[in-house]
C-alpha cells in the first residue's frame, strides 16, 4: 500500500502513536505522508517530540499537532518543539518513559488502570491517586489509546506478522497493540517468518507500507 493511502486512516483530532526512540524505529516515510495528508489538531504520543527539521519536527512545524504526550521533548535539536511550547502553541503531557510504555501496553491488553511505583513523590505525581500496597506507594495510571499507530518494523510476511531490528524495536510492538488502526512501515515483505521469532503478530497490524 502507498504511504499516503495508508495514512488516510488518520482523521483530524486523532491521537496518533508514533514509534521510534530518536531515529531508531522512527517511521519517517509514514510521518512524511501524514504531513502531506494534512490531518490536523492531532495528539501525538511518542518518546520524543521531534529532532531537527524533518519527521515529527516537520509535522509540528506544519501546525498539525495540538498536544504531545512524551517522556523527553527537550533535546539538543528539538528547536521546533521548543519554539511552539514557549509560544504556548502546543500542549505537553510529560510521562516517564516506562509509564508511557506501560500505559500503552494497558490499552492494548484491556487493563482498566494500574498502580505504578514510578514518579511517586515527584511533581509528575500531581493529581494522581496514591495507593499504598504492601507498604509501598504507587500511583494510579490509566491507559493511553491511539486511534492510529505509525510504526517501523524490519520485515513482515504477507499476513502482517512483524520482526524488528535491534533497538529499533523499542515502542513499535507496544504501540501496535494500543491503536485501533496500526500502520507498519517495513523494509520488505517476505514469504515467511519463523513463527517462534515473530514479535508483533499480524492481528495487531492493519496496513503495511514498504519503504
Amino acid at each position: 500500500m502507498a504511504a499516503l493511502e495508508a495514512v488516510e486512516a488518520v482523521q483530524d483530532g486523532d491521537t496518533v502513536l508514533v514509534g521510534g526512540f530518536g531515529m531508531a524505529g522512527m517511521p519517517v516515510e509514514l510521518i512524511d505522508a501524514l504531513i502531506e495528508h494534512g490531518a490536523s489538531n492531532l495528539t501525538i504520543v511518542s518518546n520524543n517530540a521531534g529532532n531537527g527539521d524533518t519527521g515529527l519536527a516537520a509535522l509540528l512545524a506544519a501546525g498539525r499537532v495540538r498536544k504531545v504526550i512524551c517522556s523527553f521533548p527537550r533535546q539538543s535539536d528539538s528547536w521546533v518543539f521548543d519554539g511552539l511550547y514557549r509560544a504556548g502553541k502546543i500542549d505537553l503531557e510529560l510521562v516517564p518513559q516506562g509509564n508511557l510504555a506501560e500505559r500503552m501496553r494497558a490499552a492494548g491488553a484491556g487493563i482498566g488502570a494500574f498502580y505504578s511505583p514510578t514518579a511517586v513523590g515527584t511533581p509528575l505525581a500531581s493529581g494522581k491517586e496514591v495507593r499504598v500496597i504492601d507498604g509501598r506507594e504507587y500511583l494510579l495510571e490509566y491507559p493511553i489509546r491511539g486511534d492510529v499507530a505509525l510504526i517501523k518494523a524490519h520485515k513482515s510476511d504477507r499476513m502482517g506478522n512483524l520482526v524488528y531490528r535491534k533497538t529499533a524495536r523499542n515502542f513499535g510492538p507496544v504501540m501496535a497493540t494500543a491503536a485501533a488502526v496500526t500502520i507498519a512501515q517495513v523494509s520488505s515483505i517476505v514469504d515467511s517468518l519463523d513463527p517462534e521469532a515473530v514479535v508483533t503478530p499480524a492481528i495487531y497490524v492493519n496496513r503495511l507500507v514498504v519503504a
Binding site: 526512540f21 530518536g22 531515529m23 531508531a24 524505529g25 518518546n47 517522556s71 523527553f72 521533548p73 527537550r74 533535546q75 518543539f81 521548543d82 511550547y85 514557549r86 505537553l92 510529560l94 516517564p96 518513559q97 516506562g98 509509564n99 508511557l100 510504555a101 506501560e102 500503552m104 501496553r105 505504578s116 511505583p117 514510578t118 514518579a119 511517586v120 513523590g121 515527584t122 511533581p123 509528575l124 506507594e137 524488528y164 531490528r165 535491534k166 533497538t167 529499533a168 524495536r169 523499542n170 515502542f171 513499535g172 510492538p173 507496544v174 514479535v199
Partner: protein, 208 residues
C-alpha cells in the same frame, strides 16, 4: 587530591559485584563501562531494549538501529537479547537490575534523588526513563561532584530541586568522598584528598 571523572568511574566499577545486571545512565555514568574488569560478567542493560550492550560503535560498526539510551551508536556482545519498551521497563520496574548508576543535581540524606529538573520556571521539562530507573533497580548509585560550581553541597538534608525518586539512592560517589545512604544516616565510606571532619564542616548533613 580530589578524583577525576575517570577515577570516579573506576571506583564505581570496582564496587559493582561480578555478574551484576547494570544500567548506566546517560553522561558520566557511561564512563563506568570502560573500567569494568574483563571477565567480570557484568551485563549492561539499556532501557531502549537490550541486554549485553557492548562499547560505543565506531566506523563501520555504526548501525542506526543499535543505540544506547543516550542515542549513541553502540555494539552487541555475545549473549545479547532485544526486547520492546514495555518489557524493558518491566525488567527495570520489577527490580531485576542489580545496579543503576545515575548522575544527580542533589541527593538527600534519606536517599531522595533529584536529577531531572532544576525547576527553573522557563525550562522545558523532560524526564525520559530517570524516574523509572530511580525506583526500579535493587541499588541506585549516584555519581556527581559533591559541590556545585557555586560551592553549594549537592548532598543535602532535603532536596530543593524537584524529585526524581524518593529514598532510592544507596551510594553516592563524588570527587571527594564516597557515601553510603543507610537507614541510620549517611556514612562516609572513603575520602579523597580530604577528611570526614572537613566534609562534615562543609555539609548540612550529619555523617556517621
Amino acid at each position: 587530591m580530589s578524583l577525576t571523572r575517570e577515577e570516579m568511574a573506576e571506583i564505581v566499577a570496582r564496587d559493582i559485584p561480578d555478574g551484576s545486571y547494570v544500567n548506566l545512565g546517560i553522561g558520566q555514568p557511561t564512563m563506568v563501562a570502560s573500567y569494568l574488569r574483563p571477565g567480570s560478567g557484568v551485563v549492561l542493560h539499556t532501557e531502549n531494549g537490550m541486554l549485553n550492550m557492548g562499547p560505543v560503535a565506531t566506523g563501520d560498526d555504526i548501525d542506526p538501529d543499535l543505540t544506547n539510551a543516550g542515542k549513541q551508536p553502540v555494539t552487541e556482545l555475545p549473549g545479547a537479547s532485544y526486547f520492546h519498551h514495555a518489557d524493558s521497563f518491566a525488567m527495570m520496574r520489577g527490580g531485576h537490575l542489580d545496579v543503576c548508576i545515575m548522575g544527580a543535581f542533589q541527593v538527600s540524606a534519606k536517599g531522595d534523588l533529584a536529577n531531572w529538573s532544576t525547576g527553573a520556571p522557563d525550562a522545558i521539562p523532560a524526564v525520559g526513563g530517570a524516574m523509572d530507573l530511580a525506583i526500579g533497580a535493587k541499588q541506585v548509585f549516584v555519581m556527581m561532584s559533591l559541590f556545585a560550581k557555586d560551592g553549594k553541597p549537592k548532598l543535602v538534608p532535603a532536596c530543593t530541586y524537584p524529585l526524581t525518586g524518593k529514598a532510592c539512592v544507596s551510594r553516592v560517589y563524588t570527587d571527594v568522598a564516597t557515601f553510603a545512604v543507610t537507614p541510620d544516616g549517611v556514612r562516609v565510606v572513603e575520602t579523597f584528598g580530604t577528611t570526614a571532619e572537613e566534609l562534615a564542616a562543609r555539609l548540612d548533613v550529619s555523617l556517621i
